[in-house]
């Protein structure tokens, strides 16, 4: 099972750079999610890997084969890959069995009886046994999606590409299918690239996430790493919600934000550098106003501006004392504060991430 | 140029003579009176089967001689003309003044239907009998004969067909063109003449040679000249003469067995909306000058005794003429068209 190596890929549409010097390594058997907002280049990257587009510069290697470069591109039919499209792309004039069997026609050494056998097995795996003779038009969205998955897996591709395959499903089904896809990945172990704009999906499904912004990979890492230790403002804001405070580094583990001082997760940043501090709403605990806080913990005071009850949590906007900063805070349902109440806020320094790309 | 001068000159002489003599006044004055009436009417509508350039030429000459009276030329095949006239009548449209076709049978029909004005153009007394209707409703404006013609570049003179019977030879298969009696009066006359001579079997055999079918009797000359088909089995002799004069490689054969004579009558319709213009025009076309023009530049024969013909073609008196009775033509018209289609396909 080979891995994918994307090196310095560039592709422009007119003046617009869709992909700019993009590099990414995908280990064999790994499922990497390409995550980012629309226009960030994730679909373009996927299509470059599939061979539908030719790069202006850069290379794409699968194992020890160079499949794409600006000089030549191995056509899609020879790349030994499979792809699942957002619209599923099931052929309406073929039955489910014919759809699934299609790729096997082009594999040498697979006879007719082999084909039938493998198709039935795969349909069982995706829980569509017995649907061989149906037509795509007769299936529900979820069933169509599973046919698309079966069609891609049955050819035992070296690389599997998924282009937002769940966006057309309703919310409940989407959640269910996330786990299903993860399960299939663990069962088959195919090197996979998964494009999505939904971070929850990326976190559930992938081994690693590559966050894309404007044609580049700005951070890769596990869900934990990307969420808990974002490296740029963009990543911090895109993955989950966050509060971003602009300030100046006072020491390697302290940041001055206006009149407030925050203890932050330590990094080697020279004092005087302009930085931003990222604090997740969930990481803030609300207490009674405290005059003498425990050492090593960021303790602040503020007033509740707004409290929204969301059913399984409460969403606050809290104005900090001695500052014009308003923090978003999310707490479990327990003590509910009301607008106008004074509160104390406690934040673990490890949850205050210092970001040095100020002015992003 | 010469013509106009002679016209004006003739009129001047007539005017002076009439003023001086007085007895001849009536004719001149009658003409002038009619001219005024014709000018008031403004135009004469002419349905004619005379070849288009020839028809347009006659019309222009008339308009030059009589400014203020226009000629509206509508040219199409003889059979189309009668269809058109009858269709218009049925729809109560009275559009046409003068009808001139090459199918004498039409005029027998028109006369029987009381659709013609009785009018004798000036100067036709000297015309042969075949050019005059005994009741005075229609007169032969021009005449031609049907001939064989061939392309001299494609066929050496020695091998060219000489007689109507020669055309039946299988060696001419795929090399001949004929016009259609369903369109052309010249051709329907021709067919009847040969049927009377040889019977319908002649055409049945001729059809075996897979002829190309065109519509107008004018068309075969173009076909032969271009070499599309090297031999024409019929067609108005005047058209071949004209095209030969223009320098095309066409030669005409006048079979010794006889050439079908086609006299093309003309008449004024009883419902003509511009009767005075019509009469003026008719007189004009029968005048010696115009009849001479038809003989000179158009290669036609006429009934006018004073017309001189070009020396490079035979005179009517030199040829053996096959004539056709107009009444028979009218009676058997349907049969002619049907059997022709039966043998030739369309």
């Amino acid at each position: 099972m080979p891995g994918v190596s994307i090196r310095g890929l560039t592709l422009r549409y007119g003046d617009l750079a869709a992909v700019e010097g993009l590099s990414l390594e995908v280990a064999p058997g790994e499922l990497v999610a390409l995550l980012g907002p629309s226009g960030c280049g994730k679909t373009t990257t996927l299509r470059l890997v599939a061979g539908f587009l030719t790069p202006e510069s850069g290379e794409i290697w699968v194992g020890d084969r160079c499949l794409s470069s600006s000089a030549s591109v191995v056509p899609p039919e020879q790349r030994r890959m499979a792809m699942i499209f957002q619209s599923y792309a099931l052929w309406p004039h073929m039955t489910v069995a014919q759809n699934v069997a299609y790729g096997l026609r082009f594999k040498s050494g697979v006879g007719r009886s082999d084909r039938i056998r493998r198709v039935s097995e795969m349909l069982r795996v995706v829980q569509l046994a017995g649907y061989e003779a149906r037509y795509p038009g007769e299936l529900s969205g979820g069933q169509q999606q599973r046919v698309a998955v079966a069609r891609a897996l049955v050819v035992e591709p070296e690389i599997l590409l998924l282009d937002e395959p769940l966006s057309n499903l309703d919310a409940n089904l989407r959640e269910e299918m996330r786990f299903e896809i993860r399960r299939l990945h663990e069962a088959f172990g195919i090197t996979t690239l998964y494009v999505t704009h939904d971070q929850a999906e990326a976190m559930v499904i992938s081994d690693r996430i590559a966050v894309l912004e404007r044609g580049r990979v700005v951070q890769t890492g596990t869900g934990d790493e990307v969420f808990g230790r974002p490296r740029t403002r963009f990543v911090a804001e895109f993955i989950g919600r966050t509060n971003l405070l602009d300030g100046v580094a006072a020491a390697s583990d302290t940041v001055t934000v206006g009149r407030l001082r925050f203890r932050v997760a330590g990094t080697g940043v020279a004092p005087g550098t302009r930085v931003a501090v990222s604090i997740r709403p969930h990481a803030i605990a609300l207490t009674e106003p405290v005059d003498h806080p425990a050492p090593g913990v960021n303790a602040l005071r503020g007033t509740v501006k707004r409290a929204s009850f969301l059913g399984d949590s409460v969403d606050y906007e809290i104005a900090l004392a001695d500052s014009d900063i308003v923090l978003r805070v999310v707490t479990p349902v327990g003590q509910r504060r009301r607008a106008g109440e004074s509160v104390g806020l406690q934040i673990d320094p490890a949850a205050c991430i210092m970001l040095t790309d100020a002015g992003a | 140029m010469t013509l106009r001068l002679s016209r004006t000159w003739t009129r001047r002489v007539a005017l002076v003579a009439s003023l001086a003599v007085g007895a001849l006044v009536s004719t001149a004055f009658a003409q002038d009176g009619r001219l005024e009436a014709a000018k008031k009417e403004g135009k004469v509508v002419w349905y004619t089967s005379l070849a288009l350039p020839s028809a347009e030429k006659v019309a222009k000459l008339f308009e030059a001689a009589y400014p203020g009276v226009k000629v509206e030329v509508h040219r199409t095949g003889s059979e189309r003309i009668i269809a058109r006239v009858m269709q218009e009548l049925k729809a109560n449209i009275k559009n046409v003044d003068v009808v001139h076709t090459s199918d004498a049978g039409h005029f027998v029909f028109f006369k029987a239907q009381k659709l013609l004005t009785k009018y004798t153009p000036a100067g036709v007394d000297g015309f042969p009998a075949g050019f005059k209707d005994r009741d005075g409703y229609y007169y032969g404006l021009r005449a031609t004969v049907n001939v064989i013609a061939y392309n001299t570049k494609a066929i050496p003179a020695a091998e060219a067909p000489k007689t109507w019977k020669d055309l039946l030879d299988p060696k001419w298969k795929g090399k001949m063109v004929t016009a259609h009696p369903g369109y052309s009066g010249v051709i329907s006359t021709h067919v009847l003449a040969l049927v009377n001579q040889y019977g319908w079997d002649y055409f049945k055999q001729l059809a075996q040679n897979k002829l190309m079918l065109v519509q107008s009797a004018v068309d075969p000359s173009g076909v032969v000249a271009s070499g599309e088909r090297p031999v024409a089995v019929d067609g108005g002799e005047y058209t071949f003469y004209q095209i030969k004069k223009k320098g095309n490689p066409v030669e005409i054969v006048y079979p010794k067995e006889g050439v079908p004579l086609v006299v093309s009558p003309t008449a004024i319709m009883s419902f003509a909306p511009h009767p005075n213009a019509a009469k003026l025009f008719t007189d004009f076309t029968f005048s010696r000058e115009i009849q001479q023009v038809m003989a000179d530049s158009e290669g036609l024969y006429t009934g006018h005794p004073e017309v001189k013909y070009p020396t490079d073609k035979p005179k009517l008196s030199d040829l053996k003429l096959l004539t056709v009775d107009p009444e028979e033509l009218e009676k058997r018209g349907e049969e002619i068209r049907q059997r022709f289609v039966e043998f030739f396909g369309a």
Binding site: A152 | E72, E88, N95, M212, L213, S226, G345
Partner: protein, 560 residues
């Protein structure tokens, strides 16, 4: 939608108006047609039908027509579909040029093409045959255009654009990812074309075949020019001969009815096939569609396209130009042979020409203006569902496409050569014929126009207080303007090239250009025909340019 009393009033007015129009345009003439086909001396009789069906010559004409239509259908698909695939899906060079030339073939009147091909492939004088004989020294001709294969060839050359348009539009509708999915699973470019693309355009192929067949059934000019000299008839030429003297209008009527029924049946079948929308999936993500690289087949494919275009455009237009400028069209183009005499003859000496051009332009403008207005009104009413049974109105607006031109002419002739409406001999009868015949194409364009203007745009204005008429003026009309102009132009182009109805309804004072060209053909006046033909083409192309400017996109309707 609840209909109150006011809505019913509105409906009533529209209905009465539409009903009246449709009666005058269609019901009355067709009624007379049927009535006359069964009328005899002593009342109703089937004698005419018996005569028509029993006559050997007429049966031959029917058989010839079937043969012609079938092969034209096949030929048009065989040429149009691959051409569409090449320009829409592959990297064949000169795609834009090819599409423009297909458009030019689409608007060239077939009878003009037939006439040009006589000059090219007449067995003895035809230019191509002459070249062949010169090159090989052979006695025989390479091509004989005066034959059934010749007729099929010429008709196919000007009918394949219908199939091309249908296939090209369908190809554009197929989601690109369907083909990409096949490619990534291992299918090479031709395997994709055969296993995915072809089955999905199959309904369009069948539909295109039927469309081509319908065109071939109704043609008059090409058979009259090519088959009559070869000695065989088609249904349309046969109907025309029934109008010769002595006229057999009842036979013409009886012969027309089966043609009408056949056309109606074919259209029904075609609608059924196209109605299966399941195969058209609008979508496709990821920007541009991937073109198939033809590799070493690139230039041969381009060559094949050029051959088709040579047959349709280069050769015929070239020979027309040559004939227009030559004294003798069959002779080589030397300085001696060059002349402008044909132009002077056509415009200054031949009286019928000027009148015909004037008539054609008058009728073209009148029909297009009235027609565009009428179809705009009808299309607006049906797309906004303003009256009860709006679907029926839409159906009736498209109904005339069922009637072949010749049949329509026969029906109009019968209806309007008798009281109360004696329109024969006037331009009015031609106007009615053209309006009826071109209404469907104008309606189709207007319908598409209004469907492209979402009703929400008008609703938004009305909510803010503007009345329906005000909205029409401020919102709808500006947005619909280019589409209405396009409809106008389509009708105009259709009128100036119309022959099959005009040839029956014209009188010497109401000739139009196509009739004059036909007349001149019967006289063998090739030079004048070429000049008039070029004028007609020039008029057409100017109008096409106007459409393209108005619509801002290719008039063939295929989006880039």
């Amino acid at each position: 939608m609840r209909l109150g009393a006011r809505a019913l009033d509105r409906s009533a007015v529209v209905w009465v108006g539409a009903a009246l129009a449709l009666v005058v345009l269609m019901a009355l003439p067709l009624g007379w047609l049927v009535a006359l086909s069964v009328s005899g001396e002593q009342g109703a009789t089937l004698a005419h039908y018996r005569a028509v069906l029993g006559d050997l010559a007429l049966r031959k004409a029917v058989w010839n027509t079937i043969v012609l239509a079938f092969w034209v259908g096949l030929g048009s698909v065989a040429v149009g579909a691959p051409l569409a695939w090449l320009t829409a899906r592959t990297d064949v060079p000169g795609r834009g040029v090819i599409r423009t030339l297909v458009l030019a073939s689409f608007v060239t009147p077939p009878f003009l093409g037939a006439f040009a091909w006589v000059m090219l492939a007449g067995p003895n004088a035809g230019l191509l045959n002459k070249l062949w004989r010169g090159a090989t020294g052979s006695e025989d001709a390479l091509l004989n255009i005066f034959s059934m294969p010749g007729l099929i060839f010429v008709v196919t050359t000007y009918t394949f654009p219908y199939v091309y348009i249908m296939i090209a539009n369908t190809l554009a509708l197929i989601a690109s990812d369907l083909e990409e999915a096949a490619a990534i699973l291992g299918a090479g470019r031709f395997a994709v074309a055969l296993t995915v693309t072809l089955p999905m355009v199959l309904p369009a192929l069948v539909s295109g075949f039927i469309l081509a067949v319908l065109q071939a059934l109704a043609l008059f000019g090409s058979p009259a020019i090519l088959s009559l000299p070869a000695g065989f008839h088609t249904i349309t030429t046969q109907i025309w001969t029934f109008f010769h003297f002595p006229p057999k209008i009842e036979m013409a009527a009886a012969f027309s009815i089966p043609l009408l029924l056949a056309t109606a049946l074919l259209l029904l079948v075609q609608k059924r096939i196209l109605g299966r929308r399941g195969y058209a999936a609008i979508g496709g993500k990821g920007g541009q569609r991937r073109t198939i690289a033809l590799g070493r087949w690139r230039w041969p494919a381009f060559g094949a396209c050029l051959v088709v275009m040579a047959c349709a455009i280069f050769l015929p237009y070239g020979i027309l130009a040559k004939a227009a400028l030559s004294r003798a069209w069959a002779q080589p183009l030397t300085w001696d042979n060059l002349t402008l005499a044909n132009f002077t003859f056509t415009f200054f000496e031949y009286g019928a020409t000027r009148d015909a051009i004037v008539n054609t332009l008058e009728l073209g403008v009148a029909t297009a203006t009235v027609g565009a207005g009428l179809v705009a009104l009808l299309a607006y009413i049906t797309s906004r569902r303003l009256v009860l049974g709006h679907r029926l109105v839409g159906f009736l607006a498209l109904a005339p496409v069922v009637i072949p031109g010749v049949v329509l002419a026969v029906a109009l002739f019968i209806a309007y050569t008798r009281p109360p409406l004696l329109l024969y001999g006037t331009l009015a009868i031609l106007f009615i014929a053209y309006l009826t015949k071109e209404m469907p194409v104008g309606y189709a364009q207007s319908d598409a126009t209004f469907r492209g203007i979402p009703p929400e745009l008008e609703d938004a204005g009305r909510i803010l207080g503007a009345g329906r008429l005000r909205i029409l003026r401020d919102v709808t009309a500006p947005l619909a303007r280019s589409g209405i102009i396009a409809a106008w132009c389509f009708i105009f182009i259709g009128v100036i090239r119309e022959l099959s109805a005009s040839i029956i309804l014209f009188t010497p004072t109401t000739k139009v250009m196509s009739v004059v060209i036909f007349d001149l053909k019967e006289e063998g006046q090739f030079g004048a025909i070429a000049v008039l033909g070029l004028v007609m083409l020039a008029l057409t192309f100017v109008t096409v340019a106007v459409v393209q400017a108005a619509l801002g996109r290719d008039v063939l309707g295929v989006r880039e």
